[in-house]
């Protein structure tokens, strides 16, 4: 049978969304460092504002460099489009604010990045949006937490920091049974390791600060729409008036009628970016594009190095536990083999059988690993979650999220793995003497 010829992932990583600049012939995507864009005439200007013509007006709403990044990530994820945001947190907020207002409710995995947990647990309730946190492995808990006012299910492809693997197909199916979309934070996996839309997710966001940009030099986020969710379907009807009813903020536009496949992105851009303003700077978009060009080769090396380090640490007496889903003792090992055949990423955590002082000595004795609050850098990183990224999370919630006092989170970079093993070996030895 005749098969379609379309470009493959590695090619799209380099090319999707971009073309040689028609004005100059520049092969690299230009950095369009301009706040605004000139209108050819008054009618064209009015048509751009009223969505009758395509193009750019003002860089808070869209920008040519950011648009290349958006198109590229959408292509890699297999979605219909994307919106670049000021940060991953801005992408999460944009998704939620587009789908609901006061009175809305989210069901979220409790294995979340601390910043996401803060937004849902403490900040959004001030605006009338509540969240119920559930054990991501407990399908009954997801189902039981859904209320009439629930508008979104949310989890991370790999939970932070215990690497709980989200059963995306199962949670998506459950969401769809209730006429709800599933949003996943795919930061730890990137589309190279998992394309959540192929497993039923409806929306994906990334902290592009991490593996997408890959070098720890920018803050940015990307929100991607699969274009599959029917906002006005039999089960979802009436739940998403922001998309299915006239919007007085844009000439009574009904977004789901304006665009069959991209109603969510239309509203998110035309309201969320316009009014909240958490847009990405073009220079940031350009740096993330540079990172994505090498995403496939970097992710492969990240995973290879991580496997070496995990194997080393698992054999050390001071290491009580290594939480990495490729290990048979990880509770999500079988699920990871199914959903993450290329690997489980480059972030994992270990529990040290050590006193607090020994843990501190371990981190401070590392020379190559940088002690900081980030993951997904080309350089290896380490942090103590209980006292940093998750310090606002109550103790019982910490335990539920798989974080102990002695838990150390590592993000494995692209250094020679032997050098990393030597660094870890030295630090463990120093900790043992503390």
């Amino acid at each position: 049978m005749t098969r379609p010829k379309t470009h493959r992932f590695d090619t799209l990583s380099l090319h999707a969304g971009a073309r040689p600049d028609p004005a100059t012939g520049a092969r690299a995507t230009p950095i369009h460092q301009s706040a605004s864009f000139v209108f050819p005439d008054a009618d064209h200007a009015a048509a751009l504002f009223n969505m009758e013509r395509a193009g750019h007006v003002y860089s808070r709403i869209s920008n040519p460099t950011c648009a290349v990044l958006e198109e590229r990530v959408a292509a890699l994820e297999g979605g219909v489009g994307a919106i670049a945001t000021a940060s991953g947190q801005a992408a999460l907020h944009l998704a939620i604010a587009t789908l609901m207002g006061a009175g809305g409710h989210v069901v979220a995995s409790r294995a979340l990045y601390g910043g996401s947990h803060n937004l849902l647990e403490y900040t959004l309730p001030r605006f009338g949006i509540a969240t119920t946190f559930v054990d991501p492995r407990d399908a009954d808990a997801w189902r039981a937490a859904i209320r009439p006012e629930t508008r979104l299910l949310f989890g991370e492809t790999l939970g932070n920091p215990g690497l709980d693997v989200l059963d995306v197909p199962r949670v998506a199916e459950l969401a769809h049974e209730h006429g709800l979309p599933l949003l996943v934070d795919s930061t730890f996996t990137t589309p190279w390791l998992m394309r959540p839309f192929e497993h039923g997710a409806d929306l994906v966001f990334h902290s592009a600060t991490k593996f997408l940009s890959g070098h720890g030099v920018v803050i940015g986020g990307v929100l991607v729409d699969a274009g599959t969710f029917d906002w006005d379907g039999v089960r979802s009807r009436g739940k998403f008036p922001t998309l299915t009813e006239p919007y007085s903020g844009f000439h009574d536009m009904v977004f789901a009628e304006e665009s069959t496949t991209a109603a969510f992105l239309l509203r998110a851009r035309r309201e969320g970016l316009r009014d909240f303003g958490a847009c990405m700077a073009p220079m940031t978009a350009w740096q993330i594009l540079q990172g994505i060009e090498t995403l496939p080769v970097r992710m492969q090396r990240h995973v290879e190095n991580t496997r070496r380090i995990v194997a080393f640490l698992a054999g050390q007496p001071m290491v009580a536990a290594v939480r990495y889903p490729e290990r048979p003792d990880h509770p999500d090992h079988a699920l990871a083999q199914r959903l993450l055949p290329r690997g489980c990423g480059a972030v994992f955590s270990v529990d040290l059988a050590a006193t607090r002082e020994q843990g501190r000595r371990f981190i401070e004795s590392l020379r190559l690993f940088s002690h900081l609050a980030n993951v997904g850098d080309a350089k290896s990183l380490v942090i103590h979650p209980a006292s940093t990224t998750h310090f606002r999370v109550p103790a019982q919630d910490l335990a539920r999220a798989g974080i102990a006092e002695g838990t150390i989170r590592l993000s494995i970079g692209l250094e020679d793995p032997e050098d990393l093993i030597e660094d870890l070996s030295r630090a463990l030895h120093a900790a043992g003497k503390a």
Partner: protein, 262 residues
């Protein structure tokens, strides 16, 4: 807007404007497996520039009820029925692909109702590859993938969507994935079976615009030549480096051609 045609509910996108009988009307007719949203930019423009716009979801597509109509002739007569149902005496037609064939046939069959026809991506005959037809017959996803691949010029398969942030290939796939089982096959068979194109063109008395994509693989430019020759009053606009999905690939060029004609 929703109206009843032949006892079935039909959805028409109007650009969020009420139909004003004092204004001229343009009816937009989409192609195989699509819906009104392929004309989003162009139809919205005319709705806000002193025209009534009815961008339809054909029966069995999008938000419209009923089975697909199954032949170009049936769609042409259905368009006349739509005008009756909407209380509109006459209208210009803009059709893409299958919709272009329907616009041509409607102008020939209902000359008192159709004032102008704009045919986007037309071809006479509109041959459909056996592999595509067979995949559509069994509702194989490959049919959608083949159309996505053949409908976009090589450059746009890489990207550079004029609409910021949108991935054109993904949108084309998703829209067709939403089509009801059998709808694409019915539409493609209608294209394949349509044999009255040149005769209809010779009967057309209203002005016609042909918009041709120079890189169109679904409706190659040479397949529009005979059609253009048979039309009495016509204008041909060829869009360089443009594929079949021309409203997405070059939305402004399509709009400019339509605005100059309509």
């Amino acid at each position: 807007m929703r109206v009843g045609v032949d006892g079935r509910e039909v959805y028409c996108y109007t650009g969020t404007r009420a139909v004003d009988p004092a204004r001229p009307t343009i009816v937009f007719v989409h192609g195989a497996g699509n819906d009104h949203s392929v004309f989003a930019l162009q139809s919205r423009y005319f709705a806000h520039h002193r025209r009534n716009v009815l961008a339809v979801d054909l029966p069995g597509h999008g938000r419209s009820a009923g089975p697909p109509l199954g032949s170009v002739e049936a769609i042409a007569d259905w368009v006349a029925g739509l005008l009756d149902a909407a209380g509109i005496g006459e209208a210009a037609l803009v059709g893409h692909s299958l919709g272009a064939l329907a616009a041509l046939e409607a102008a020939a069959r209902h000359p008192s109702r159709i004032t102008r026809i704009a045919l986007l991506g037309p071809a006479i005959p509109m041959a459909v590859a056996d592999a595509l037809l067979e995949a559509a017959r069994v509702d194989d996803h490959v049919a959608f993938e083949l159309i996505a691949g053949w409908s976009h010029s090589p450059a746009r398969q890489i990207g550079g969507n004029p609409v910021p942030g949108m991935w054109m290939m993904g949108q084309t796939l998703r829209l067709m994935e939403r089509s009801r089982p059998g709808a694409l096959y019915s539409d493609l068979r209608a294209c394949q079976a349509y044999a009255n194109g040149l005769a209809a063109a010779r009967d057309v008395r209203c002005p016609a615009l042909l918009v041709v994509g120079a890189r169109d693989l679904m409706a190659p430019p040479k397949a529009a030549q005979g059609l253009a020759a048979a039309l009495a009053e016509k204008r041909v606009t060829t869009l360089p480096e443009c594929g079949h999905a021309m409203m997405a690939e070059q939305p402004d060029a399509v709009l400019d051609a339509l605005a100059a004609f309509l």
